[in-house]
Symmetry: C2
Subunit: 215 residues, 2 copies
DNA sequence: GATAATACATACCGGTCGGTATGTTGGTCA
DNA sequence: TGACCAACATACCGACCGGTATGTATTATC
């Protein structure tokens, strides 16, 4: 196993475990065991658990970013972009019902760490701002095409969307897998309402986002 | 100090500390120290840390409940109810900027505990359902009075509001005190949009919720 | 083929955590 | 007034956690 591969396995494993549980209760030992790496290997690649988390976040964001760029590509109409984003958010990489909302690890970690670890907080804040930025692009795209009601403070609406998605992650987790189908439908209506999408465009495109094949 | 008082001090202290930080990183020792109670006292009143948290949640909810009942009292018009709820949610009991959203301890704990502690999860799920129930009352009240656009699936909208509030808590915490004023305004617009409140009623009442005097 | 740096592996450490065992005290009631 | 019990206080435990010290293969460099 190459050094690069070892590092990536640690990143992926950490994210998966934290996704399924949470930052605090996932220990370094557990990450190592699951990744098939020893503690020496771990601390060879990462200064600390916090450093690993930050690296994993950025690693994960790079993936998300690529997909979002594809979703928001100008080849898609604004309505398709919207539907794809909704589908994308719901997409559940790890198959765990309690974590159906993409980005859940960031959102949960934000509430977990509190004010304890400034390093992680900074990292999460950056992620949060990144999410808002992409939402902003979506809002502007829809607004410019005249799909939205009334005046639109695009920055605010983008923030509202981010806040809503964060809440979804928590809600879905607390309420367990029983609410999965419900939440799936909630996302759509939540987005439509927060955006102020004109009623005639609700549920019109039915695009369903597909995870692009990995390189 | 009476037994009842000791118990209440533990409940209040636990909630405050967890509110400011989070469930995992607040230890029993810290709670005891802050409350001026020894560990013996703690385990005399509570079986475990998890039991304390659940009791504290219920204790806290009883307070919230009283206030919400007042806010949603029929003596207030539906629009006043709405504005009061918005003000109520933002109200910051402990003065910590990162936790301006009332209910934050529940929301954060929900993401913290993951699937580890079923007991806490159950408690949080109940809280979540309670919140939805109160939102439902608000939605119905507004809907019946004709303030909302289009068809209203009241249950869904109530859920959307709960999800949004949960997200706000996380967003505010991650983004720190710098975003406090912004978030304050976001709440209002988020509620208006999720409810589908008719535009002519936006920002009309300007009611500001006041914490009722304690008995 | 010698040297050195990389990439781990193993064993271990100090500290903290939730929880417990046991001692003490003040009020209650017979 | 003495038995009794709730309501604590103190001391302590084993488990676990993040992190480190040190040893050992493997690979690159000259």
């Amino acid at each position: 196993m190459s050094a690069e591969e070892t590092r990536n396995r640690l990143l992926d494993t950490a994210l998966e475990l934290i996704w399924q549980s949470n930052y605090n209760s996932v220990g370094v030992n557990e990450i190592c065991k699951q990744a098939g790496v020893t503690k020496g290997g771990f601390y060879h690649h990462f200064e600390s658990k916090a450093h690993l988390f930050c690296a994993a976040s950025e690693h994960y964001w790079e993936n998300i970013k690529r997909d979002l760029d594809a979703v928001l590509s100008p080849v898609n109409s604004p309505l398709e972009q919207l539907e794809n984003v909704i589908g994308f958010i719901f997409h559940n990489k790890f198959g765990s019902p309690a974590t159906c909302v993409r980005g859940s690890p960031f959102f949960s970690a934000g509430l977990q760490t509190g004010c304890d670890e400034p390093m992680i907080n900074d990292s999460l804040q950056k992620m949060s701002q990144n999410c808002v930025k992409y939402n902003l692009a979506l809002v502007r795209s829809l607004s410019a095409a005249g799909y939205l009601e009334g005046d639109v403070d695009a920055e605010r609406v983008a923030r509202l969307l981010s806040q809503y998605v964060q809440g979804l992650a928590g809600f879905a987790r607390v309420n367990g897998c029983a609410c999965l189908e419900t939440v799936r439908k909630d996302i759509g209506e939540g987005f439509y309402r927060l955006l102020g999408l004109k009623r005639q465009y609700w549920f019109t495109t039915r695009a369903t986002w597909q995870m692009p094949a990995k390189a």
